[in-house]
Symmetry: D2
């Protein structure tokens, strides 16, 4: 039977009739929200599913951080699967091992919570709220594991819904709606975009930007990559970021440089689109700009300096002389031209060894290397004084890497990387590690 309140609410929604797209009337308590969730899951919820889902989404969006945590806690605690039913189904399966008992077992494991999230998705804005939920869950999981069951359901559902087959590939340019462009400014994770002026530079005619979108998530890029068209492979990042300088693009550019790739949705962490995006961009450019012959990144080496100072410097097999070690120890040595000159060679050499030989388990130690080699790229070059911003010096003594994507080698590079752990690199890099 319906509680008095619930009757009232359903009556209210009923009277609102078709107007469920309008603004909510009042703020609900967590207890009420839980009741709405239960109604939504019950057969009673069928007629007013979208209206109830809308109540939940609106309520969630207006909750304080503490209330949101409370709501996630309710999802975790009160809408889990029925352990007893699972046990029974498991026992039955162990006896019969037939398809029917397997089906019942699988069904018993599909939690009411997962059903509830599927129905929350009915509401306009539902998917955005669900992504936000996962963002909060992931943040909380760093401290506490209690949201793990909720995370399992969220990951399963979001992975299914953000299947690459549903993503839309779009070029971002100066004709893109401002509502999307402001997201590009906000989400750029590699080289900050200061303001609209800086953004406009990045969308000038010698540049491009490509993104994946999901059709249900309006104006929200999932991931985007920024591309510069240059003559030859770019070896330094500052000229690409410098607002003043616009390379005369035309018959001269022959290379596409992927100089920044950013995941935009924290709540979709671990649901990988990067590899698909890079390949689709290569496809797109090959078709639209036949004059572009070379595809390469200009990538940071985020952990190099920390690794060097913590793990490498004092190794017995370190290639540094004592003098070099002393120079490396000086604060702000990068500001000194002579020191830079002296350290260029050994640092570049160490960096090449770091990228190619240093491992984390079976895989390269550096996460950017793992990503691009996993996609079928090869290490083409290591560039000195490539990112001379404070940040660049801090993370890698200003060194950057070109990972080169050669369409004809992508699959074979990937194969040997995956099967044999082989790191593909150019002859230039080879010389550095010999």
């Amino acid at each position: 039977m319906l509680s008095g309140w619930m009757e009232h609410m359903i009556k209210t929604i009923s009277e609102l009739g078709r107007s469920y797209l309008e603004k909510p009337i009042k703020k609900h308590s967590l207890k009420t929200i839980k009741q709405i969730c239960q109604t939504l899951l019950s057969r009673k919820g069928e007629a007013s599913g979208t209206a109830l889902a809308k109540e939940i989404v609106d309520a969630f969006n207006r909750m304080s951080a503490k209330e949101q945590w409370g709501f996630l806690n309710i999802l975790t605690k009160d809408f889990g699967p029925d352990t007893k039913a699972i046990s029974e189904a498991a026992n039955k399966f162990l006896k019969t091992r037939d398809f029917e008992s397997m089906r019942v077992l699988a069904s018993s494991l599909d939690s009411p919570r997962a059903d509830l999230i599927r129905m929350i998705n009915f509401a306009p804005g539902g998917i955005a709220a669900i992504i936000k939920m996962r963002e909060l869950v992931l943040a909380d999981l760093k401290k506490d594991k209690s949201f793990l069951p909720l995370e399992a359901d969220l990951f399963h559902l979001l992975s299914s819904w953000f299947n690459r087959g549903f993503l839309e590939f779009q070029q971002i340019n100066w004709n893109t709606p401002a509502a999307i462009l402001e997201k590009i400014i906000a989400y750029e994770a590699v080289h900050e975009i200061k303001d609209w002026r800086a953004l406009r530079r990045r969308l000038a005619e010698d540049r491009s930007c490509f993104a994946f979108f999901h059709p249900a998530l309006h104006h929200e890029p999932l991931i985007f990559v920024q591309v510069a068209f240059t003559k030859g492979i770019a070896r330094k990042i500052q000229p690409l970021l410098n607002e003043a300088e616009i390379e005369a693009y035309g018959s001269q550019a022959d290379t596409a440089i992927f100089y920044s790739i950013s995941n935009a949705q924290t709540g979709l962490k671990g649901i990988s689109f990067g590899s698909f995006l890079i390949k689709q961009v290569v496809d797109h450019i090959s078709k639209e700009m036949p004059e572009i012959k070379t595809y390469s990144t200009l990538s940071p080496i985020p952990k190099f300096r920390k690794w060097l100072e913590k793990n490498y410097m004092n190794r017995k097999d370190s290639v540094f002389t004592e003098e070099e070690k002393a120079l490396l120890g000086k604060p702000d040595w990068f500001g000194d031209k002579d020191t830079r000159k002296q350290l260029k060679k050994p640092l570049t050499k160490v960096c090449a060894n770091y990228l190619v030989l240093e491992k984390k388990g079976q895989l390269p130690y550096d996460p950017v290397t793992r990503f691009h080699l996993g996609n079928g790229a090869e290490i083409e070059n290591i560039n000195w004084e490539a990112d001379i911003s404070d940040h660049g010096i801090e993370q890698s003594f200003g060194l950057m890497v070109n990972y080169k994507y050669t369409p004809a080698h992508i699959v074979s590079n990937h194969e040997s990387y995956v099967n044999e752990g082989k790191i593909c690199y150019s002859s230039k890099v080879k010389k550095l590690i010999e």
Copy 2:
């Protein structure tokens, strides 16, 4: 290690490089397709996932019916879950009953086949191929149950992907691309659309049509409803279908008649959109056409005549006199005016009783009644000589029903139907069943 052929194929795809959007070169054998499926599932498939998925989809689309059956058989037999792993996980869970073992158990139940289908979806046209697979599976299941495990995976994935939150609501009119309109002609299931001329009549200014689409399934309506705007509730279908007659629409129409609702995708059977669509159409019309005050269907009674002749006629409590029974037994009695006159009253009465009182389990016997009452409608009227086509006479002696949707009553009607099994009907209908 890769087989020689596989090496060759990966090399070929690799050489094709970015051009995976182009046409396939050759026809693969089922054995080869199976190998491609295995490669796609393996780590080797990561770099060329989309290309391999494309091979499978293209191959499937060019297969003969027999080959397609063979392919579905491979999916069913060779890509099922690992029963041993499930057993182990089930045993472990029964011991610990903790989240981790539950997660492992759930994971063991998620079949390689499901993963494979998820990856087939990467390809352009993947989703259409998967829907086609389910269509074939459902057809085969009528004879043979061996595809049940495949059906379970397909249903689970398609239900997830066709979540109502991802569907796009669109009005269909004469400005709609011809590629969609020809689907409307093809998929219309209730009152056949003879040709483009007839379609144009159905899209004239006193009519409308609304559909759900999925963003990844271009030009394919999932479900659509056809609406006529009339003065008062329409009681007969022929005037609505008659090409010649165009009702002067303007200040006079006050009623929206839903006179045909068709599911377009056989492969999505059981993934229900109808209730959502009707409600969204009511919402849309309320907002755009405030002069429309009444929403009603003009619906067939598909099983009435068969039920009457088979189940009712010879019941002891049958209301028919012997004379009436004799008349009903005559072939083509409907062609005789006097007989029609004589039978009008008893048949209408029996029909009202059929709709309101006849049950299949707890629910109404008539499937159309079940659908609309489950959506919150009420039985408003039973109409004599409402569908005088051969088909109409054959299925229900020409009787049709109006199910009325009153926005303010939808939720409460639905509630009493679901909770108490209460059938809502008008006072006019009430008189007939007394």
Copy 3:
């Protein structure tokens, strides 16, 4: 001062306020329409210009043919320029010959009628009504010259408005709205499109269709050309029109055949788009389909048979033998294989001479030849049994011509044609006229 009626009408429009987009309330007499026209031209019309224009357009669209003629007559008679003012301005100009008096003279010649038409264009649907007016005027001018002044204004304004810079180039395909496609069926002027099925054939993957649109004239193509992609230049039209036969398009097609070009708007006669359209289609295909190397028409010779029978047969220099003349005189000789065989050579020869040497003034006698040579094409070939439909036999004994467009020669061909009257033709054609 406003007449009572006019006051009433303006009050009504004023009360209608913003709702000038709604339907008109009543039918106006021609006298009333004339008054509305006068009000529109007066300063009083400024505030309600769009509303008054809408009245005129709606009234015009609902007039009978006779009333429309009356309306055009009013435009012609009552809204002409002020002859006295022109005379004064002419006299003044002849005295001063300065810019100011020239300006006044030009202004005196710009008729109130032209201003009125400019303001009628304010209304939604205005441009379509104006095109319809010119269609009626052109039809009437065949009998009677009294509409010449109105025609002069209409031609001047429509030429200005349909400047090529404002036209939109669009590809027509199966995704085009049905409302446009039904116009293609209706307007096709060269080879009739029987029904939607036939249209679909013409939009299959080995075909294309391109059109110019004007942004203010929704869903109305101005001119369109139909293209078939073939292997080598097509020499016969029936295989292109045959519904059953779909050429496997793919790597094989290397030629674009323009097999039909139709002007869609009778009311825009003499405002030429054809040359622009063909060039833009060549541009478009060159860019999108680099495999297409050759561009050619397969064109009718509409006046050949009539010319031959009337002007040529009995010329002294006729090449026909008496036997051939006798054969040509027989009814239905085309049905006889032997006769065809015998006449093939002389007819083809005469046709070549007709196309290349027969003149109307300085220009080729054949209108299709004039059009394509004026665009920079050359006569590539004359094809026997190329259009074996009744119509084809009737107009040209089944002969058709290929006019070839070679991008690199278009300008020079055109130059020598315009300057020296040179007809460009291939060596094959050369042999026929020697």
Copy 4:
């Protein structure tokens, strides 16, 4: 005959063939440009019209200011009408006074320059270049009248092309392409938009913006109006411009305030769209936002202070006391609260008299008053301390006006204004001028 150079150029264009959309190869001298113009006008230009037009447009866009002046001078001097032909036609007309001679006379007055401009419009970007030409011509005309003939042609053509029937009405919001939004920032003429942040405030949910576009002029608004939705008529501008303050829009707003209207294209000066735009915005809002009942501007009084200080202060009938005159004479008196208090009443009164009674010829002296009264608005209120920016104080002592648009009165207000010179104002304003 073609000059050697021209032959070369046509050959070059011919060889370029279809690629006229690509970038120009070299910079032309003015002499060359003149030759291209002559070729374009000759029959030789037919085949390559678009290509030649493109040469001219590209050349013009890359010219220095001095070269552009030279080009306009060539258009004026070398492509004028044939005075002798006009004289002959004028004489002939004076003799016959028939339509044919009138037609010849009109034709003789249509200058080659006008034809040339029509053909320049064929090129992509042609219309933008032509608008730029008129902008330069108008600027030059302030010093020198020699461009008057060119201006006459440009005005005639642009008036014809920018006929209201061809304009597209669009809402501007945060989903509008950035390329358009940056134009809004650049063209805003009334209340400067500092940066993108400020723009975003102006496009928040309690605001809107509407513009006219021409379909051939991409991403270029012609005119736009900014609207704020408020509770009651806004009396002060600063709260509307203040970035921090966002009015909670919802059930409360009942009024649309047009607080800024800007013409965007200097080159279209005198081709008026403002009246049409305001009426269409009123229409649009009435339909989309039925809760909005009142439409009013909040407008500047640009010439009030200058008029007062120069023309009024020392009039004999000035209402100011000597003390008030002294206060008004003080620099920065607006900064003093007491002075403001003392001057509020007399200044407001004088302002009311200025708006209602001060004339320029038959029309109101104030240009903004002329514009809105000509559109059918009435003077609703005069607001003290309404624009307290430096600019507001400088032009009107901070006073602003509400002009109110009442749909039901627009036509009658306009009529009495146009016919009787009647200024419509509210009773509040009436009190001020008594």
